[in-house]
Each structure stands twice: as structure tokens, then as C-alpha cells.
């Protein structure tokens, strides 16, 4: 019963939304080339399952690698910013500014450097995703109880040991939380990356596929591809949540406690 209770609300909401969408397309005057009905998207998904899964592979690779790189880079930057006031003043404004860089501006340069492969896409995704990790890591490190650090000092802990025993484990779940936020923008980041840099090969990824389908008036297939991205993003989000629970069970446990 409890399982049913946890699955039922999202399923009901989804059915309701699809129902409204279907009714709007059936009863309204909107052109099917502008907005296909849900059942048409389902048919397109079924017919193009092979093509879409072949296009999901490169996109999944970009997002997976990109998030991991963003997590590693963001965590390291967060730690450096925490440890050094000079670095904080030097790096933080640049990190914030990097979020305002339009990808199209640098896309050509990225292709010039690294060609048509996965590298330019990774760069774009990391650029979009590292920032939330930096912010949550810095906040996680700053939230360590100063009394805790004082206690470690009376136990003769060096700066490095205080970092290792108290600050690093505290920052880990914070960094993963940042990665979960990053993931929400990471999938759309992959779309931006694919559509702004050129790709060689027959299966350039779901982002490219969507643009190609829209241009070819294959709207229902474009929606089917977007649906795959949609489900992929949700799956990634919960995978990271699971990883966080595994890596930092204490953070999960103490959240339920009254403090």
C-alpha cells in the first residue's frame, strides 16, 4: 500500500496533464504540425525507438561525463575558494560571470580547438553545470560548526586534518546536492551544446535530432525525442539522489531529526 501511495500521485498528475493536452489538440484549432497530440507522440516514439535510442547514447554520454566533470571541478573550486580568501576574491566573480557567457559566442572557437567530437559538448555542459556545485560546496564548507573546528584544535588536529575529518565529509553531500541542481540544467545544456557545435557521424544526439525533425516538419518525432530527454533527466536526478544517500547516509538520516 505504501508503494502504491508513493507512485500514485505522480502517475495521476501525468495522466491529468496528458488528458488536458490530448483534449486541447482534439478540440482546439491548433495545427498538428505545431503541436501533435500525446497519442501521436507515443506512436512516433514506438516507430522511431531504434533511431531515438541510438541518438540517446551520445547525449547520455555527454550529460553523464559532463555532470561528473562538473562535480569534480566544482568541488575542487569550492574547496579552493573556501581555503583561500585571495582565491575567493579572484575566482568567485569570474565563476559567476562565466554563467552569462552565451554558448553561441564560443561554440565556433570550441570546434576550432577540439573538432566535431564530444569534447566541445562536454566543455559547454561543464560550463553550465559547475557553478551550482561550487556554490553548494562553498556553503557546505562554511556551514561546518566553528565549535567543531575548535574541538579538533584541542585534539591537536592540523589544518589538513581538520579539513579531512570535519570539512570534507560535510561538503560531500552539499556538492552532490549542487550536482542535482546542475543536472536539471545539464540536460538542456546538452541540447544547447549539440545544437551550437557541429557533429560528425550519423547519430549526433537527441538535441540535433530535435532540430532536424522540426526543420523537416516531423513534429511528433521531435516531441518523442524531447520525451526521451525528459525521462532521461528524471532518471539521472534520482540516480544522483540515490548516490547521495549511499555516499552520505548521515545527511539523509539527520534531516528527519528534530534539531
Amino acid at each position: 500500500m505504501r508503494r502504491l501511495g508513493s507512485v500514485l500521485p505522480p502517475v495521476l498528475l501525468l495522466i491529468a496533464l496528458l488528458g488536458v493536452w490530448e483534449a486541447y489538440v482534439q478540440l482546439g484549432s491548433v495545427n498538428r504540425l505545431v503541436l501533435p497530440a500525446p497519442h501521436e507522440v507515443a506512436v512516433a516514439l514506438w516507430k522511431n525507438a531504434g533511431l531515438l535510442s541510438l541518438n540517446l547514447a551520445p547525449t547520455a554520454e555527454e550529460v553523464g561525463l559532463g555532470i561528473m566533470l562538473a562535480l569534480a571541478l566544482g568541488f575542487m573550486l569550492g574547496v579552493l575558494i573556501h581555503l583561500s580568501g585571495a582565491l575567493r576574491r579572484a575566482v568567485y566573480p569570474l565563476a559567476v560571470g562565466s554563467q552569462a557567457v552565451p554558448v553561441a559566442l564560443i561554440a565556433v572557437l570550441l570546434v576550432f580547438w577540439w573538432g566535431f567530437g564530444v569534447l566541445p559538448k562536454l566543455f559547454v555542459i561543464v560550463l553550465i553545470c559547475f557553478f551550482p556545485v561550487v556554490v553548494t560546496t562553498v556553503d557546505g564548507l562554511a556551514a561546518v560548526d566553528p565549535e567543531q573546528l575548535k574541538l579538533l584544535r584541542t585534539l591537536d588536529a592540523s589544518r589538513w586534518q581538520a579539513f579531512r575529518f570535519a570539512e570534507l565529509p560535510a561538503a560531500l553531500p552539499a556538492a552532490i546536492s549542487g550536482a542535482r541542481i546542475a543536472l536539471a540544467v545539464g540536460v538542456i545544456g546538452a541540447y544547447i551544446a549539440e545544437t551550437s557545435t557541429a557533429t560528425s557521424g550519423p547519430y549526433p544526439g537527441l538535441g540535433r535530432e530535435i532540430v532536424a525533425d522540426i526543420n523537416a516538419l516531423q513534429t511528433s518525432r521531435a516531441y518523442a525525442a524531447a520525451l526521451v530527454l525528459f525521462v532521461f533527466a528524471i532518471a539521472c536526478f534520482y540516480t544522483l539522489a540515490l548516490a547521495e544517500r549511499r555516499l552520505a547516509p548521515w545527511a539523509h538520516r539527520s534531516r528527519g531529526e528534530l534539531r
Binding site: 585534539l155 575529518f165 565529509p169
Partner: protein
Amino acid sequence: MRVAGVSRAYASGKDAPVQALAEISLHADADELLAVVGPSGCGKTTLLELICGLQAPDTGTIECRPAALMPQRDLLLPWLSALDNAGLALRIAHVTRARARERTAELFAELGLAGFERARPYELSGGMRQRVAFVRTLLSGKSLLCLDEPFGALDAITRAEMHAWLVEALRREPRTVVLVTHDVEEAVVLADRVAVLSPRPGRVVAEVEVGLERPRSRTDPQVVALREQALTALGQGGVL
């Protein structure tokens, strides 16, 4: 441990500096338990931080062997088991994990904590967490322990259990202890000597020798009499 004529003031924004301690003098002999009682805000925590070398006094001198602090909140690390939390000082001293666990487990068995080794802090009761925190302080290898209201957050029944446990633990592992508390009864039940501080700025207004056999009962007439004596001294210090 000898504290002689120590004063300490804090700057507080635009206002005049706050005098926390004024010309305070205290001593504790080897393996003696000195309790320091006083009203809230009389600089008790400051005193312990001075003894532990976390702050420097404005005037006066502090002579003591290296001291370990046990704060009021247990400050156990949530990602470590009870055993690893208790053995933290050993790990900091570069003892291998296996050897640290071995030594900590011996002490756990000796102090009646066997069976709780693998528990995470959030799985332990408040009393158990304080016991683990005390073992962590013991294993710091320092001969002077500074306990800052270690039982202040516990309920009365748990606190009484903790008193008995602490007396037994110190019988097995003798250390010089400076125990800061606002509970006069706790001070008389546990200490060899009780120093009574005045309200801020804290200075010693009385010293009460306890010198009774342990374990002591709260209702023992001698304990009650000494408690009254310490409370009277607190009153003369301008508290009551």
C-alpha cells in the same frame, strides 16, 4: 594546573569591552577533580578555552600540561561510528585505523560501552553521546581534561546516571579534571574541590573542599550541607 591572576576582556562592537574574567586564580592538583560553578555568563567557558590554549589571557599566567576540551554539545561527527568518533584523537596522532579501533574498543569494553561501537551518533541517546564524547577526550592522551557543562543538556535521571558513570570512568582512568557547571549539586557530588565564581567579571569568591568518599549520594546530609555552603557563597557573590 595553576591559573594565576588571569583576566580576559572581549571587545564588543562600539561598547566598552566586556570583562569576562577578572584576576582569577585557581589550581588543580594531579588527578584532582576541580569543579567551577558560577552563574551564566561569568566566563566559565572562557576560562576553559584559556586553559586549553584556544585563547590567550590579557594578564596573568596559566601553567598546565596540555589540556583536552569536552564541550557541552557532544560535537560527534555524524559520518563516523561511535568507535571512530571516540578514537578521533588517535587518528589525528597518525595511529592506523585498525590500531585506533583496537585501543578504543578496549576502553569501550572497560567503560561499559561495548555493543555501541558501530552505532552512528544519530542512533545514540543524549547520555550515550556524551559518554562517547568523554572517551574521545580521554583518548586525546592529555592528562588534563576540561569539561564544559558536559551534562547540561541531559534530563535529571540521565544526568544522575552520567555522574555515577563518570566517577567510575575516572576511577579506572585517573585524570586531572576541570569541570565547569552551573549545577552546584553536580559539583558537590563529583568534585574534590568546588570553586565558586561571581557574576561577570568572574572571580573566585569561595572554595569548598568536598573530601567525601565516592560514590556520593545527592541526599547524603554531608553533600546537602556542602551544597548549601556553595550556594551561600554564590549568594554572597551577588547572584541570589
